[in-house]
Symmetry: C2
Subunit: 216 residues, 2 copies
Amino acid sequence: MKPTIYALNWAPDFAKGQVRDLRVRWALEEAGIDYQANCMSFSEKAQHDYLARQPFGQVPAYEDEEVQLFESGAIVLHIAEKSDALMPTDPAGKARARMWLIAALSSIEPFIFPYQDIILFNAGEDWAEARKPEAEKRLVDRLGQLAAWLDGKDYLEDCFTAGDLYMMACLRSLDTTDHISGHSILGPYVARGEARPAFKRALAAQMADFTGSPPG
Amino acid sequence: MKPTIYALNWAPDFAKGQVRDLRVRWALEEAGIDYQANCMSFSEKAQHDYLARQPFGQVPAYEDEEVQLFESGAIVLHIAEKSDALMPTDPAGKARARMWLIAALSSIEPFIFPYQDIILFNAGEDWAEARKPEAEKRLVDRLGQLAAWLDGKDYLEDCFTAGDLYMMACLRSLDTTDHISGHSILGPYVARGEARPAFKRALAAQMADFTGSPPG
């Protein structure tokens, strides 16, 4: 049985190419693991069967012969355990790769989410305009700390790992702004990820699977 | 060499018993691994030596004979790899334990942080009062989804794992509200964690290490 990922058959335009199953597809492509996608409508992912698999009703979920999982970060780590393409073979290298994936989730995205909540979902609201300068400052400061680490390096550690894959995917979510594309260190870093053949295949596959209609 | 954790010698009152080195101390106590704490002032953690270890200038960081790490989630996973007390021995069980730790970071804390930013750090600000109802609704809805999963269970899976440890620690950060203590499922769930001898030792050790003075 090929691994199955649970994804969406429709997303709003701003989310196309960003929905988090992309991170799992990318990891599977890097690892050279063939998979199938089960693409659902918004109403299907809210149903009881899917909630038993993913209690928060979000995508992706994942299943292979060994285990059922949700959380794109956990699925990418699981795939990385199976492939030298995504983690070094020594225990210390594995631990550092896992660390950077978790850093993307825990030390970078908590600065991206509040900013996007303001600029994408609440633009023009009084509270959002009042909070935007501080949210943007916190994000820029945090990105600066990451850039200081990456200065002079191609990747977070000696070679590309699941940690880079996840960090790059997380930084790409700022594509509607120039915080990454206009950054002298983070821009080229993310571009190195997007240039990878495995990334391009994953992105094309996600886009091709948006064959459904918006929720009625 | 005993593992070393890098922690703080002072924290504001609301953060005492919550600073994230507690999660690492708890994991080490569950695993029965003796450790030493290197407790720093706020100014020490902002210095270059520490930033080379933790690029975001936060605690905890960690070092053992094998590896240097930061990110409490990554450190807890690293410790869990060494001990049957924190993860099942089968690969599927390990993957599910890692998944719940990541779910705490990626699917629960992103709902806690914006709410705490409002009630702890910006209480009374106009923008915060305007945003509070929606931030609280999102948090309550998400906690409800977690509670639906936990209904009738003692732990997230069949037995206590690093995933519970991390989820419980994350939920405890709402201690200044009644969202957990007043919840019929999540309250007893967190209480099961806080009743564990390893948790009690970890909490006492963190509190005993706050021997420093506030930043001048």
